[in-house]
């Protein structure tokens, strides 16, 4: 019975409450973080308050529990990045204890995910995440990056699972979430355009939104200080451009936070998007740093489209002559790419490189075309000599 209850909890993100019923009293007290101490105290004082539910506490001090290491070794289910050097060609490759990481496994009935020796305490989780970032994601020698991504993605998912089971809150969970969010945002740019079987942007998006949501929750409920909060409030706005929910959340932030340069730039960009002023938006977005550009980049296709759409209507006349160069400047793209873009949207460019806008000519291209790819070079330029590792650790 208890197995099933715990499994059910794991398969949801932390934000959903426990099942309705009398159990709520026992579960709620430990779900909330520091904010809700009043209720916790009240419960503890009450006489006759039986069976305070114990929160599982991990005792596994390595990145992968010994049991799993042996199991996967025996079943030959080691990932290529986890195999002990020199044993790759053996009949049974050996696991490298310094490189094997607990994998994500779907909760199932009858499977107990709360055995302490299988769970990694917060400090170990943090070390695991740093290993995954510094030694795998940022490694110059592991290729291809799609494989690196899939490995890190899976292992981070397992870290999150351990965090949920142990109800980790506080500084460690925040640091882990911050690293996770940066990694997923960077990946959303780096792997943009890769074939679906290697990288699915929607799965990346789901996990990114979950982690971001959890992180913003931590900021809202945890006692400060949160030195990176500005960075992530801004990233949330940029990644969720156009979302009124994200904007409303940002508007409700304390003034000091809202007026910080990072957040206020993100807000200005959001406003420009909601007002449908792509010229302003693209101009402001030049000021963003590399990671912020990664967060914003998937929306740039929409911005281009908006510009071509409203200009097609606004300049629609037979005598219209709009210099292609000027359009390229506004879009912050090279001339050839701009011409390509015009072609995709049915916008005519004549021999003198003048755009002839016409509201009847503008057509939406077929579904699925990723126009944000046009901006990949521009975003890449911002990376300059920043290493992957420094990006994910938040150095700009």
């Amino acid at each position: 019975m208890s197995n099933r209850r715990t499994s059910r909890r794991i398969s949801h993100s932390q934000r959903r409450g426990p099942p309705a019923g009398r159990e709520w009293r026992k579960n709620q007290g430990t779900w909330r973080s520091q904010g809700e101490t009043a209720m916790k105290e009240a419960e503890e004082e009450k006489p006759g308050c039986q069976e305070q539910e114990t929160v599982p506490r991990g005792s596994c001090q390595s990145m992968c529990p010994l049991r799993e290491l042996r199991e996967r070794e025996a079943q030959k289910r080691l990932h290529r990045f986890e195999i002990l050097e020199g044993t790759e060609k053996d009949r049974r490759p050996r696991a490298d204890p310094s490189r094997i990481v607990k994998e994500y496994s779907r909760p199932a009935a009858g499977k107990d995910s709360t055995i302490p020796t299988d769970l990694r305490p917060p400090a170990v989780l943090l070390k695991t995440v740093c290993y995954l970032i510094d030694d795998v994601a940022a490694s110059p020698s592991l290729h291809p990056w799609t494989e690196v991504y899939n490995f890190v993605f899976d292992r981070l998912r397992s870290v999150k699972q351990d965090m949920i089971i142990q109800r980790v809150s506080g500084l460690e969970s925040m640091t882990i979430l911050e690293l996770t969010v940066r990694f997923l945002i960077y990946a959303s740019y780096r792997l943009c355009g890769e074939p679906l079987r290697l990288y699915d942007p929607r799965i990346n998006d789901t996990h990114l939104q979950e982690s971001l949501s959890w992180l913003l929750d931590c900021y809202a409920t945890g006692a400060g200080p949160h030195p990176n909060q500005e960075e992530f409030q801004a990233l949330s706005l940029l990644y969720n451009l156009g979302s009124t929910r994200a904007m409303q959340h940002a508007m409700e932030l304390p003034e000091r936070l809202r007026n910080s340069p990072t957040v206020s730039l993100a807000l200005s960009i959001s406003r420009a998007f909601l007002e449908r002023n792509p010229v302003r938006l693209l101009r402001l977005s030049q000021k963003l740093n590399f990671l912020q550009s990664c967060a914003l980049h998937r929306h740039l296709g929409t911005c281009c489209r908006d510009l071509l759409l409203i200009y097609s209507h606004g300049h629609s006349s037979r005598n219209c002559r709009f210099p292609l160069n000027r359009l390229a400047e506004l879009l912050a793209l090279e001339r050839s790419l701009t011409a390509q873009l015009c072609q995709t949207y049915g916008v005519e460019v004549n021999q003198d490189n003048q755009v002839v806008f016409s509201k009847t000519a503008f057509t939406e291209p077929e579904q699925g075309k990723l126009h944000c790819e046009l901006y990949h070079n521009k975003v890449a330029e911002k990376q300059r000599d920043l290493t992957v590792g420094s990006v994910i650790h938040g150095y700009t």
Partner: protein
């Protein structure tokens, strides 16, 4: 009521149940009724007594209710909430006549949740569970659906509070598909349309939003000044976006002078005043969740400002520079001629201006007939 004995109280409950008097029974279990102040009823272990007089499930329900009154008397809202949930669950097992009981109990439940500073999420879970229980018992029996709107309104309240508006959609679908939707009481329909109107606003469906909120405002009881004001807070921005400005009398009558400057700014095309007004009453607007909608008024304000430029210059070929000057006068920061073109292009696209921009001549050429169509005819 304040002096009866526990036995007398239980007898009254028994009679109410036997005679299927829903409203009276509801009063006996409601915290709005004076009996809750009666110290003789505030018992910490009333179970036996209740079992002696009442049949299940009323024995448990009333026992939980009495323990609740005890808890409230001791200002222990956490305990109160706990017991109220038990009452709530028991009350769902009942037939149609007991619906008023369920209403009263659920309402108290929500109030306790707020008072005990519980996570609103918990009360949401409770309400959701309540609704699901209720619906599962409803089956094909139409009579159960009567209670649906009340519960749904309660859920709306919670979803709005925790800012999870997308959860409203399935509820709206459920009511829309119900054939009873026009047969509910006016109060419930007013509440329902209020929330649906707000949701439509949030989704930028301004025409339907205006419809719902107007209905709500018109049919809200004259004496509920507070509720009328609440509806107006959301109706005003929607109407303004559709070009209808409120009068000062209206704003004064409902104590909504925060909108006065905004109204003035928008109708005059005064961007500077608009920005100032939004900042001045920022806290109020953000708290009500209308700040973002009011920002949309910027577009209307641009339109009004540019119309003034057109009226001043009295020509159909307006230099773009004129608009740039107008914006700079309004202290719009960092705006350049490219952005002016963009704003104009957007206004043309939206139908607020009839004409086209000539980039070569750096002019806006407007139609000789009705270049600035009335706002109500656009969007």
């Amino acid at each position: 009521m304040a002096h009866i004995t526990i036995n007398q109280y239980l007898q009254q409950v028994l009679e109410a149940v036997d005679n299927r008097e829903g409203s009276f029974c509801a009063e006996l279990l409601s915290f709005k009724h004076p009996h809750v102040a009666n110290p003789r009823l505030q018992l910490s272990s009333p179970e036996e007594k209740c079992q002696q007089v009442l049949e299940p499930p009323y024995d448990e329900m009333v026992a939980a209710h009495l323990r609740c009154t005890y808890a409230v008397a001791n200002h222990d809202f956490i305990e109160a909430y706990k017991f109220q949930t038990l009452v709530a669950f028991q009350s769902h097992k009942e037939e149609n006549w007991a619906l008023p009981v369920m209403f009263a109990v659920t309402l108290d439940l929500r109030i306790f949740a707020n008072n005990s500073e519980q996570s609103i999420k918990m009360s949401k879970q409770k309400q959701k569970a309540a609704l699901l229980w209720f619906c599962s018992r409803a089956g094909i029996d139409d009579s159960k659906k009567w209670g649906m709107l009340f519960l749904i309104n309660q859920l709306f309240k919670i979803y709005f509070k925790i800012n999870k508006l997308h959860l409203c959609k399935p509820l709206i679908r459920a009511i829309d598909s119900s054939n009873l939707k026009n047969d509910y009481s006016m109060a419930q329909r007013v509440t329902y349309k209020y929330y649906v109107g707000r949701k439509a606003m949030f989704d930028s469906d301004f025409k339907p939003a205006e419809e719902y909120l107007s209905f709500s405002f018109q049919h809200c009881h004259r004496s509920s000044q507070k509720n009328k004001r609440m509806i107006l807070i959301y109706l005003l921005p929607v109407k303004m976006l559709l070009g209808h400005m409120p009068t000062h009398q209206l704003l004064r009558k409902y104590d909504l002078m925060q909108f006065a400057d905004v109204t003035k700014a928008v109708s005059e095309g005064n961007l500077l005043l608009l920005n100032e007004a939004l900042v001045k009453h920022e806290t109020f607007f953000i708290r009500c969740g209308i700040f973002l909608i009011l920002e949309k008024l910027k577009i209307i304000t641009y339109r009004n400002l540019f119309k003034k430029v057109y009226q001043l210059l009295r020509t159909h070929q307006l230099p773009l520079d004129a608009f740039l000057v107008a914006l700079r006068m309004m202290q719009v920061d960092e705006v350049n001629i490219d952005e002016v073109q963009c704003i104009l292009a957007n206004l043309i696209y939206m139908g607020h201006i009839k004409g086209y921009i000539s980039h070569q001549h750096q002019k806006l050429v407007v139609s000789k007939q009705n270049p600035f169509p009335p706002l109500s005819s656009v969007s």
